[in-house]
């Protein structure tokens, strides 16, 4: 039977994988995918807590809002990455080093 700790374990694994992707990837699109993993790990937590918790729908509603906001955020981020690609002809984050000081 799938219980709350199973969900929490998967969520923690997703969070760790997302953080690993953000810290190790060079391609900006891959970094955004890592960010999505982090946000979805929180979503999984919220839905699992709502399912096994006091029985209210606050967690599930919160997760829906997070999904919507994450979509908007990624749309803005992709537009900025597209501008970066237009200016530098590369999506590589290592080459965005004008602000290095």
């Amino acid at each position: 039977m799938i219980t709350l700790p199973h969900y929490l374990t998967v969520s923690a694994a997703l969070f760790t994988l997302g953080l690993l992707g953000v810290l190790t990837r060079r391609n900006a699109v891959n970094v955004l995918m890592g960010i999505e993993l982090i946000l979805n790990s929180a979503n999984l937590n919220l839905v699992a807590f709502s399912r096994f918790g006091p029985g209210n729908l606050q967690g599930q509603l919160f997760a829906v809002f997070v999904i919507v906001i994450a979509a908007a955020e990624v749309a803005v981020a992709l537009a900025i990455v597209l501008t970066l690609y237009r200016l530098r002809r590369t999506p590589n984050l290592d080459e965005a080093d004008f602000l290095r000081g």
Binding site: T3, N45, S50
Partner: protein
Amino acid sequence: MNEPLRSLHRFWPEVVLTVGLLLVVLIDTIRARGRDVANWLLTMATLAAAFVLSVRLGAQSSGLFEGMLALDPIGIFFKLILIGSSLLVVGAFRFDGSRELRGLGQGEFYALMLAVTLSNLLMAAANDLAMLYLSLEMVSITSYVMVAYLKGDRLSNEASLKYILFGAVSTGAMLYGLSLLYGMTGSTSLPEIRQVLASGLTDANRLTVPSTSGAPTCTRARPRPSPPSCPWPPRRPGSRSCCGSSSAAWPWRAREPGIWPGPSTGRTC
């Protein structure tokens, strides 16, 4: 049904900012010569109206929209500061004479300023984790766009990219923490979270209800001939749970010991 209407009467600053924002976007689509001046005047008038309406709210304290927002004196104080700051920025900002800003659409800037002011007002009044997250993200996304306002400038683009990456990661980590807070307290309402946390962790047991899982619990239902061996964590005196002090901090751990074996391999609960 009366609650949203009743709340709307004390929500006028935000309503005025929303209407002003939509009007600025509409005016910006009209290709008339004086649209930039009209947008500037409309933005200043909207902010001034929101400031006056916030002052007229007075020192009342109440909840709005079923407790999603809170109206109190300190919130109104911060609203006034935020609207005043936006007034100063819009009043002092000049597109004329700037090499970078020449040729860029001014209506976008005024619309973004009104949007970030509206989001700030919502954040100052947020009384729920969902509202807090929504308003914070609205401010963040608007700020990302404003940093990338100089489209052809490499520095602006790079600054915006780094801002959005750092901001999104930190928001994700914060959201993960908020989800754990919801799991501990069983509510997203800030006053309810305060009540649960103030009454101690023993009240954060709502997630331990085994109605759906049906998993065996650690609590002994009948006396055993010998106590279970729990070398770690140490068993508290008088505690009926063989999981010791960890069951208070992580209540569901005590209910399903097979998932959380921990260092105590010889546990027999």
